[in-house]
């Protein structure tokens, strides 16, 4: 049923720290790996080793340059995946019931056996979170690793989405945004977590933690002053003079 649940018991999602993300793409690669061996059909690539490789990814890391009115530009790596919206437009447009949002935890999923591959859900998503599998011809999207987070057969430490587990800088946090005392809720509140394009009314659950201001003070000078000409003393002074003599 592609009507949305009135509310969900949990609102599972990610808080992504743009301050600590180094743009290594480990989250994207780990996601691709996990979702090529999981319960759904593999996330396919076409022409993977050829001239024009292309494939389905559930997480893509964009890199933006932000130029402030004064001062140096900063680089922000921006991993983008499904935001598991409260009012997900991708779900309601689905003609077959393949797209659905779970009432218990708010995860937005696709039942691949029902998907006709019309692509309308991808058009309805403002964020580009859904991609058509080039081989299976069904819509693929982030499952929040639903086959990991409840999986009792893997060690408890691994029961988080693959992207969160893989991140070497701890820039990705997983938790329940419906619980104001959860780590992600507190983190988002403390850091002024951003919702993407909230004016479109999708009610995204995921939050992006903007770069901290401390970053900027460290890179405040636009043109670093040229190193001062200092005359070396001691051993280095002797070496300098000796090399000078050698010409």
């Amino acid at each position: 049923m592609t009507s949305l649940p009135r509310s969900t018991d949990k609102r599972l999602g990610l808080a992504i720290d743009l301050d600590t993300c180094v743009g290594c793409h480990a989250c994207a690669v780990s996601c691709k790996e996990w979702n090529s061996g999981g319960s759904g059909t593999p996330l396919a690539d076409v022409d993977a080793y050829g001239a024009a490789p292309s494939g389905a990814w559930l997480n893509r890391v964009h890199t933006f340059e932000i130029t402030p009115p004064v001062g140096a530009a900063e680089i922000v790596h921006f991993p983008k995946s499904c935001l598991h919206c409260d009012d997900a437009p991708c779900v309601t447009v689905c003609p077959t019931g393949a797209s659905y949002k779970r009432g218990e935890d708010g995860i937005v999923l696709v039942d691949e056996a029902l998907c006709i591959g019309c692509g309308l859900c991808a058009w309805a998503c403002p964020y580009g979170a859904r991609e058509m599998d080039p081989v299976e011809k069904v819509m693929k999207k982030c499952t929040l690793c639903v086959d990991r987070i409840y999986n009792q057969t893997i060690p408890e430490i691994d029961r988080v989405p693959a992207c969160v587990r893989a991140c070497p800088t701890g820039a990705r946090h997983f938790g329940d945004f419906a619980d104001p005392d959860s780590s992600v809720s507190k983190l988002s509140a403390a850091r002024g977590g951003l919702a993407l394009m909230p004016d479109l009314g999708t009610g995204p659950v995921n939050r992006y933690l903007p770069p901290r201001d401390t970053r900027r003070t460290q890179t405040a000078t636009v043109d670093p002053p040229p190193p001062a000409e200092t005359s070396a003393t001691g051993f280095l002074g002797w070496l300098d003079a000796a090399l000078e003599r050698l010409g």
């Binding site: 292309s54 964009h62 890199t63 933006f64 402030p68 692509g119 058009w123 964020y127």
Partner: protein
Amino acid sequence: MHPAISVIFFTVTSGAGFGAMTVIGLGFPLDGSRLRILILCLAACGLAVAGLIASTFHLGHPERAWRALSQWRSSWLSREGVAAIATLVLFFAYGLIWMTTGTRLAWLGALSATGAVFTVFATSMIYAQLKTVPQWNTGLTPAIYLGFSAATGWLVVAGLGDAEAPAPAGLALVVFAWVLKLAWWRQSARARLSDIGASPETATGLGFRGRVRLLESPHTGDNYLTREMVHRIGRKHAGTLRRLALLLGCVLPLGLLAAIVVLDAPSAFMLGPAGVMMAGLFLERWLFFAEAEHTVSLYYGHR
């Protein structure tokens, strides 16, 4: 947005087919033989069905298309499928009764006309509902789909009918449809992403730190999103294509209709303007997709 040929063919052709059903169902003057009724009904249904079949060509799994009939409570695409089938059944019954008994049941005609109008409306709502494409997200989108459906449907019925077709009505329908389309073009020129204040700054939420520019795309090549929603081919030719769409879709059909009136030509000549107008609408529909900007392009460097 990617202008898929199957979807362009579908919207134009089934628009004309359901438009023809509307016109016939509302009692377009026809006093013909059984053969004439058969030809008319086959043409209307044929156009609608050809469009519907074409629309399944862009599906990843056409064999599962029947599943699209299940979610009519929430999905416009599903509503369109249900309405199309219901309308075809109603219109088939209307045509069959007309052919066998010789009487046109006005109530059944009105019912199939209502169904046909709703089907075209549902088609247009598939696009008009998308907040992600501001140029489509307007009440004028259903208006142009309905306007063009009525105009092309009228021309097809007038061309295949035997009675003296009231050509001024056809002229009025074509002009009315294009007035709506010109209003739509005017509106769409003001509803591009940049016009409504959407930018990489608003998309990332990072505008408060400065001007945002895509430095590196996630991948060196293209992907499904860029092919489907960041489509830019042909936009530089948009002006030429618009003039061509206007010429084929509006000026020529109007000229031909006027000539038919002046020369008192047989109504079969109405098929000329019908064909030319549909050719023009293929261009109009191509532009409808190719010129539309989707918010996801903001993450891929579009400004």
